[in-house]
């Protein structure tokens, strides 16, 4: 089992970032995400919490040996993403897991978006509301008959996680710039306030 923890910031308000999340695909850096469908949407707690389930279809090249092993030759896979936008707490939590190939490789991911100063959420004081913190936890587990094979699968997965991660951050930065900051050219968001090379699209990048 491999684990990831990651944090980075986006220089936009929490409201803007949540708007961006719903408009994130397609972006030129995430060509492996083929489709995003809303399976379920529900408004609860007097309109303060929005629950959503989305089905994300991905397609990308995977090594032949891995394709043979997991019985997935064309690289198409499905990810279920379940999320809650909580207006009162100002929290946007997304949990994802892979639906295909999960007998061999299970990836679970939890992502949270919060305003940078969200400790006093009940006070309307003059906190800096123009930045949003992104936190990510992920767990990758391979199941195979031999421990050495598990390691091989996990190592490949980790490598792919890193390869695609920066692209995902860049893609989302670009989307936010297009939506809220059209004067900035598309590449300038690449390193904006990021202290990590991991992204919020890692699970989609991996499976």
């Amino acid at each position: 089992m491999k684990l990831f923890n990651n944090t980075c910031e986006f220089p936009y308000s929490w409201e803007q970032v949540t708007q961006g999340v719903w408009r994130k695909y397609p972006n030129e850096m995430s060509s492996h995400v083929k489709s995003v469908d809303v399976l379920h949407r529900e408004l609860v707690e007097n309109g303060t919490i929005l629950k959503s389930s989305r089905l994300i279809t991905c397609k990308q090249n995977i090594p032949k040996w891995l394709g043979m092993l997991i019985g997935n030759k064309d690289g198409t896979s499905y990810v279920l993403e379940i999320s809650e936008v909580d207006l009162k707490q100002k929290k946007f939590v997304m949990k994802s897991c892979n639906l295909t190939g999960s007998n061999f490789l299970k990836v679970m991911e939890c992502v949270k978006y919060e305003p940078i100063n969200n400790n006093n959420n009940n006070n309307n004081n003059n906190n800096n509301n123009n930045a949003t913190v992104f936190k990510q936890e992920a767990q990758i587990t391979a199941y195979a008959n031999f421990k050495s094979m598990c390691s091989k699968i996990e190592d490949w997965s980790v490598k792919r996680f890193h390869e695609n991660a920066l692209k995902g951050k860049q893609g989302f930065d670009n989307v936010l710039n297009i939506l809220f900051n059209p004067t900035i050219t598309s590449n300038s968001g690449l390193n904006a306030n990021s202290n990590s090379s991991l992204s919020n699209t890692s699970i989609k990048s991996l499976l």
Binding site: Y25, R41, L80, C97, P182
Partner: protein, 99 residues
């Protein structure tokens, strides 16, 4: 808000693209102008979503993927926090042993 992103969001089945677009436009407007301001008690896009979802459900079944009705909370990685805590604890005890 600045300019919009021009290309449409891709969907699972091509035949559902138009229905998805209608739903998505309804959702985006509602999300930005009502939900985020705390001014909404209900999701007004239910009709658009029902049309679009019926289309997607047919496509899912055609492709041999589970029907949407069968997705449930068991698919949620709810225990991830616990798993991470346990793993961190076991790592600490291992490193203590090694020290």
């Amino acid at each position: 808000m600045g300019q919009s992103i021009s290309s449409p969001v891709p969907v699972f089945a091509k035949e559902c693209t138009e229905l998805h677009k209608k739903y998505d436009q309804c959702f985006s407007t509602w999300y930005d102008k009502e939900f985020l301001k705390g001014e909404s008690m209900e999701n007004p896009c239910l009709d658009q979503w029902t049309d679009y979802m019926q289309c997607v459900n047919v496509a899912l079944i055609k492709k041999g993927i589970r029907s949407i009705d069968t997705f449930d909370k068991e698919d949620l990685p709810d225990n991830i926090g616990e798993v991470l805590k346990q793993h961190a604890a076991s790592q600490e005890s291992t490193s203590e042993k090694n020290a």
